[in-house]
Symmetry: C2
Subunit: 420 residues, 2 copies
């Protein structure tokens, strides 16, 4: 038996409404799997080395369900535009550069270094149409120790010619090269969105998802103009989600499916997502920055949908999942105040849930410290966030999220392996 | 003549819509006053020492128009409540502690240390009702080198008895002690808000403002329940602003007046603020966190009102004015999307204007690098914000605001004095 014990203040989500705090507990990791947290170290684990993090907070690693590695270089730039304008003027010209492997080496190197140091332990990543650059990123991700799904993007229309692929052949080759190659890094079928793919390409990659048993990720119901456009492009679909379903890309029959945004999903789209087990990647900062709106997350949660959180760099400006949590709370308050008081704002505890076990579900038993969960953990030191009064451990956690950054992470574990 | 020259990329607001960027310019400081920026160092300043900040960005210091020093200890805490609930359960019990000077020493020490290291060069500060603790803070602020107005808060109703003062006598004593005492630190009359002050107290402090020629700051039209309450408390006022005006606390006849929030100011309140020269302290994060709403800043600017930016810690979670700029932009986008497309979202350039010369106006000629302006400046190094592509200086500035923090500030000058 290989393993270790972390001693400290264990914080994780008991359920979507409540963070459970276990002070001065022993958290057990055995062969990369969590064996629970205990007030007294159980006899069975007495031989494991104990790392004393007394006074520190220990939380599950955070899952970033949607981030564009190729856009990382221009995070925090060009934020005065709406989605379709931003794609044309900013995203597309930059993506072209990833045909050049030297450029990809530089850009993806920066991306992986930042992500490794961040709160994120698992990520679902978009790249570009370029197969070789995508394979380069996957290699770097595997070296990083993080767990990820990485998606070579599919596009063959409504974008500059230099970003259009002929057919699905490069995608097939990429799956040949990468499916099953790595322990922590897996391919995921990634149509950019309906407008950028012809029916033929969508059918083909839907079939590839089945053939290689690979999950699917994309964008859905993000922006009103985009939704209108999809209606015109796929007139027989009852909604945007159904447009994916027509090409077998919406999570039926055991296909794992992750959809970003869902700002404007209606009852029927919600029903489809529930039936198909689609996981929603809520991207609150991006939805603010490109003025898309605010997804009604508590409505989705109450309806029984599976929802996680995402930074969506570079629609979002920053890779920090702490910031994504704040953005989720703040934008939900404005949605409540300005638009619709039938959906309650998100509490801190629910935002924490989204960032941990809410999103972790896409990776399996991930995002909490229950027996049998994979052991992803961050050890947090908040000594620099000084305060004059006594505060509770729950308050310390809230403060770290609002005020802290990567400096507050002193240790990071993924699948039981310490990254730093 | 005492002075110096900074060489680097000078960035400041030409007007509310446009940041002017002067690359590789010489910025002149003479006796604490800016003498402009020049492509070639003018003969007249040839004898001044030149500090070479080539490649770095040099921006005006930022003015935080509204921050509660006494709430700094619980920044980033208790963010799941609305305004009136938050005051009762969180703010009021904590404020009581400032009767104890040892506690004030500890808490205000932490506040001033953070503020000194932050983007802020000037601040308008609320304390508590406690005179001695307020004087202690003023001493610390003066030592810090920052420029500030500090307001001992007035309250004598609708709050716990331990936070009610008998009358204005402590305020008078405080003005006796501090008006004219410091070079950089000035008192400002600070009724917390209408609900917390009886008519008698408001009349008395209005008179004190005139007697000592001291400006006024308070909160106005922040939250719908609060506005309704003020309507009941001052039934003959036509709006919330007019309730202050009745007690000579709304900036007429040369009284400098600063009002926070203005989320719901109507046409008539706008007209009064324009006529009286009231400066608005826009506090976007706080307005999100306590679910108040979003102030229509572009409407106010187009109407000719004077608007600056504020963190409003601890309604806002963080003392960073960079973050306040992002919050201003993001919340204006959601206001536009969810509520009212007649008011355009804020651009990055306008948010920068609000944080610099928009708010600087409350302090005089402050917030730009024009000849005759006071010399407040930050030198920014963005080397840690790596990127693979060429970007413009304007883009570098946008990135620092979205991604940076106090680590990116390598030098800070206030009134020509280098703080670090």
């Amino acid at each position: 038996m290989s393993g270790f014990v972390l001693k400290g203040h264990i914080c994780h989500s008991a359920d979507k409404d409540r963070i459970e705090i276990l002070e001065d507990h022993y958290l057990i990791c055995e062969d990369g799997i969590c064996r629970g947290a205990f007030a007294v170290l159980p006899e069975a684990y007495a031989s494991l080395p104990v790392q004393d993090m007394s006074g520190k907070l220990i939380i599950p690693g955070l899952s970033d369900l949607h981030i564009h590695a190729s856009q990382f270089g221009y995070r925090g730039l060009g934020m005065d535009m709406e989605l379709l304008e931003w794609l044309e003027h900013h995203a597309f010209p930059e993506e072209r550069k990833f045909a050049d492997l030297d450029y990809a080496e530089l850009a993806y190197g920066q991306f992986v270094r930042h992500l490794r140091r961040s709160e994120t332990t698992r990520a679902c990543i978009f790249t570009t149409i370029h197969r070789e650059a995508t394979e380069l990123l996957m290699e770097k991700m595997e070296e990083s120790g993080l767990v990820s799904y990485v998606g070579k993007v599919n596009m063959d229309r409504h974008c500059p010619e230099f970003l259009q692929e002929k057919d699905e052949s490069e995608t097939r080759l990429w799956l040949e090269h990468t499916a099953g190659k790595y322990q922590n890094t897996k391919p995921i079928i990634t149509p950019r969105f309906i407008p950028s793919c012809t029916d033929g390409l969508l059918y083909a990659i839907g079939r590839l998802s089945r053939e290689y048993d690979v999950p699917v990720q994309s964008h859905v119901s993000e922006n009103l103009s985009e939704i209108q456009w999809v209606k015109e492009l796929v007139p027989d679909a009852v909604n945007y989600g159904d447009a994916y379903a027509k090409f077998d890309l919406f999570g039926k029959d055991g296909q794992k499916c992750l959809m970003s945004h869902c700002v404007y999903s209606d009852e029927r789209e919600m029903a489809m997502m529930k039936e198909n087990g689609v996981v929603i990647a809520h991207s609150p900062e991006s939805n603010m920055n490109v003025a898309s709106g605010v997804a009604p997350i508590n409505r989705y949660l109450d309806y029984g949908l599976r929802v996680g959180l995402a930074t969506d760099v570079a629609g979002g400006s920053h890779e920090s999942m702490f910031r994504a949590m704040i953005h989720a709370i703040q934008s939900s308050k404005l949605r409540w105040r300005l638009l619709d008081q039938s959906v309650a704002p998100l509490t801190f505890d629910t935002a924490f849930y989204l960032a941990t076990r809410g999103g972790g579900v896409f990776f399996g038993k991930v995002g909490a410290f229950e027996d049998g969960f994979e052991f992803d953990a961050l050890v947090l030191d908040d000594a620099n966030l000084d305060h004059p009064q006594q505060i509770t451990t729950h308050e310390r956690l809230e403060r770290i999220v609002y005020l802290g950054d990567e400096r507050n992470i002193i240790h990071k574990y993924v699948r039981g392996v310490g990254l730093f």
